[in-house]
Subunit: 517 residues, 2 copies
């Protein structure tokens, strides 16, 4: 294979997909000789483990059989910030509407800011907005992020080169949202209806930035699990993996120790072809692996994603998982007899993530399809979304460092661009956010669950009387945005109740201000 392809593959391993997939740099950095040369280029490896099955059975909406929205397309400007010849180009941006509960024309618009996935999947996994729309009489709008789902400005060619991918940036996406919302309201003759924006993970970052940059469009934002402080040196670089590790350690010290021990054992056994063949059998790989990396990556992904989705009820966000899946994994590890093999333990635990329903005959450990269309995140992580990550010695993963220089070289090799390492904090801020927003801005909820590995990069303390942090000790990645279930514990019920109450306050205030003429 070509050298560029190899570089791209290496690069892919060092990227992260914010919402769902993360293949940590450590393994690649620590054992370069074991890096894969057969991964699809410019594609986060963690994603490879997703199955289309996960897509088809997602969502808990009562109206699941019939889609609870209609799809629409808006002619969007490709480039809002220059007038170069390409900027006269428009593309079709997809958005979804549900007006079932809408009290026209005064009811608010609840607008979801799509992140790095197709919008229909995001809509079916964000039941909270549907749950609360009736009491607000809200019009529900889900807007797809450019370059994801069907909103690809250059169609199937959109990922082919920098010339096209170059327009995939957060600032362009925010302007898309502003233009689309403004235009929609004009066309529907509801220019005075208040708009509240919602988002989770990267979409949550967008929601909070949108309220800050476009206060004339949105009166408030619910930013769920939005790690807007995971840039520069604001958040400790080891925070993400430390939290994953802590999640497992909190269930059982043995569980943590077993996982911590597995990486060296894997490396040792995978150092020759016989070992790889045997490990492939142990891991029930559909195809014998040629290198150890895919197996360690497959395991890491299981532990990281399960920590992110350590929900208190059974859920099917990326995979079908039981309630408190980290606890389940650790129960399995702890139930092995004393002298059992750590590889067997780790595989059994990972099976909670990959095969909870028990219907998988073998595993595509070397990567699969991309049912939700996350592909563009690799580019975003290599341009704007530079979130440094390391793995500390205290973590249950292999320790690793982060180098801006190395990242820059890798991105140049993989995508033909160098990252703008500090652009996000220049454009959106982040440093000393408590001082900056103490007397500026209003009406943002930053919600986080402390079991979520991303929570360390979130806003965890109230900044002002209306820039609020709602933190739950036991919550995971944007749990609050999921549909309510009868088994929800009190603390998430309470978190959602507070969100609803605060949003009511924004709307009441807006209506009062508007009525004053």
């Amino acid at each position: 294979m070509a050298a560029s392809s190899l570089l791209a593959a290496i690069l892919a391993l060092q990227l992260l997909l914010l919402l769902v997939a993360f293949t940590p740099a450590p393994a690649a950095a620590a054992s370069p000789s074991k890096r894969p040369i057969h991964q699809p280029p410019s594609f986060p490896a963690g994603i490879s483990t997703l199955r289309r099955r996960a897509a088809s059975s997602s969502g808990r909406l009562a109206t699941e059989a019939v889609k609870p929205f209609t799809a629409h397309y808006f002619p969007q400007e490709l480039d809002h910030f220059t007038f170069t010849p390409n900027s006269s180009r428009v593309f079709s941006q997809k958005y979804l509407l549900n007006d079932t509960f809408w009290r026209k024309p005064t009811g608010p618009l609840f607008v979801y800011m799509g992140g790095e996935a197709d919008i229909e999947w995001l809509a079916t996994t964000t039941g909270f907005m549907f749950d609360i729309a009736p009491e607000f009489g809200a019009l529900i709008v889900f807007i797809e992020h450019r370059f994801y789902g069907e909103s690809k400005p250059f169609g199937n060619d959109s990922y082919k080169s920098v010339d096209m991918l170059g327009y995939l940036t957060s600032t362009q996406a925010l302007a898309d949202f502003a233009i689309l919302i403004t235009s929609l309201k004009q066309n529907m003759s509801i220019v005075d209806a208040p708009v509240v924006v919602f988002g989770g993970s990267y979409g949550g970052m967008l929601a909070s930035w949108f309220r800050l940059k476009y206060p004339h469009v949105a009166i408030g934002a619910l930013a769920s699990s939005a790690p807007i402080l995971h840039f520069d040196d604001i958040t400790p670089w080891s925070s993400f993996h430390d939290t994953v590790s802590q999640d497992f350690k909190s269930e059982s010290l043995n569980c943590f120790s077993v996982i911590k021990a597995v990486w060296d054992v894997l490396d040792n056994r995978g150092s020759n072809d016989t070992g790889l063949l045997e490990l492939s059998k142990t891991f029930r790989a559909c195809k014998t692996v040629q290198f150890i990396y895919p197996l360690s990556s497959w395991l890491q992904t299981a532990f990281i994603h399960t920590a992110m989705m350590d929900y208190p009820t059974p859920a099917n966000f990326l995979m079908n998982l039981p309630a408190y899946p980290v606890k389940e994994m650790c129960k399995i590890i702890d139930s092995f007899p004393a002298g059992a093999d750590v590889i067997d333990k780790a595989f059994a635990a990972a099976s909670v993530y990959y095969n909870y329903t028990g219907d998988q005959k073998c595993f595509q450990v070397e990567g699969g399809d991309d049912p939700h269309g996350f592909k563009g995140w690799g580019w975003q992580a290599c341009t704007e979304m530079v979130m440094p990550m390391t793995v500390s010695n205290e973590s249950m993963f292999r320790p690793s460092s982060f180098s801006y220089e190395k990242m820059s070289e890798n991105c140049l090799a993989g995508y033909g661009v160098r990252p703008r390492m500090h652009w996000i904090t220049s454009e959106y801020g982040g440093h000393k956010i408590d001082k900056v927003l103490k007397r500026f801005g209003s009406n943002i909820i930053f919600s986080n669950g402390m079991r979520d590995p991303w929570s360390g990069g979130g806003v965890l303390k109230n900044i002002s009387s209306s820039i609020i942090a709602l933190v739950t000790e036991k919550g995971a990645h944007h749990l609050d945005l999921r549909s309510a279930t009868k088994d929800d514990p009190d603390w998430v019920v309470e978190q959602r109740r507070q969100e609803v109450e605060i949003i009511h306050g924004w709307i009441d205030q807006y209506n009062k201000d508007t009525a004053q003429g």
Copy 2:
């Protein structure tokens, strides 16, 4: 001459230069056959009347002989918002520093956001910042706006085509400021020093938008004579010319009536070559005019610019003018005997603007040089800065209408682009600004003088306890930013005193917040 050149000339007439030059649409719209075909394309005609003389003798700084600043150049990204191949291009952005009064490292940075002119000229006409820097111990920074002065990304080719001019937008300029300020503070090891931004006219718009979009960079903004509401239908379209007319009417009804009468007389007499020859003599044109338009435009410019610069003390901003120059013009008109010719009256009045020092032998009524480098404004007015203007029947100018469609066609013909008519309000807001900013944002002073034709598009009422309007009944275009003089009337002394007091409050608050850890 080529048709495209003619179109460009027509277009130029319908544009306006915010800060200093404005050639109103009316004349062109009302008498198309008299439009000039010999104007430089894509260049506001009003500018043509500037003389280099005005540039060389500007400024009242004590240190006038020696420039009170040092010039520096920053490697700036061409395109902050995409990663297209051009975006890796950097250009040299000029900025000026004065550290004479600076109390390093805690003293604030006073940063002037350059508008549509070369930065050295703007620095020499913004004495207020130098006047107040000592009591604040401030570091003074003037940043040049991209595509003006020496900050042309493509050198002398910068205005040659859309490919290059396309990067001349307000959003790119604001990001330039953010990046430059952030980088400067890092390089000088003063990351915690507070930044206050200043600007007048278009630069004032940028200053207020900068505080709203980059609160993490600037703790407050003084936006002087910033018509941020002169977009869409927020401000009555006739406001600008109505205010000019009112300025003259307030001095004398006769003065107003004479000027109102002059346009038809001009048209009648200029309808044949003999008349044009005679008028050229009356106007002391250096070259006989071929059409009436340059003469009427020359007169209009005199009245409009004089209204903008109706300062209470002698000033040399664009031209040498006496104190209260509108009053001077009207005195001259009113002093003519009853039966005198209106043309003679109008010419004599215009001479206050063009020839107050009495040293002009003839006038370049058809356009001159561009000493301050305003050239890019034509492009900006044809892309983002769409400020609709009409002339009402009650005005002293020829009535005229405004058509989005016509403007769009003209801009397409002249520059190869269509304006984004409502982009500014989508990006920055403006509609119901009092409601939007009542509970969002802080620390902005909008200062205006009601004699300024641009004041109608400004923020004239307090929005919140820290978004403040400072309005003087007798002030003109960003008078407060000029150097103090011994003859300043109390009301401008008081306006500046309030500004200083408010800025002290911002800095004290910032220091207090920061000290709280």
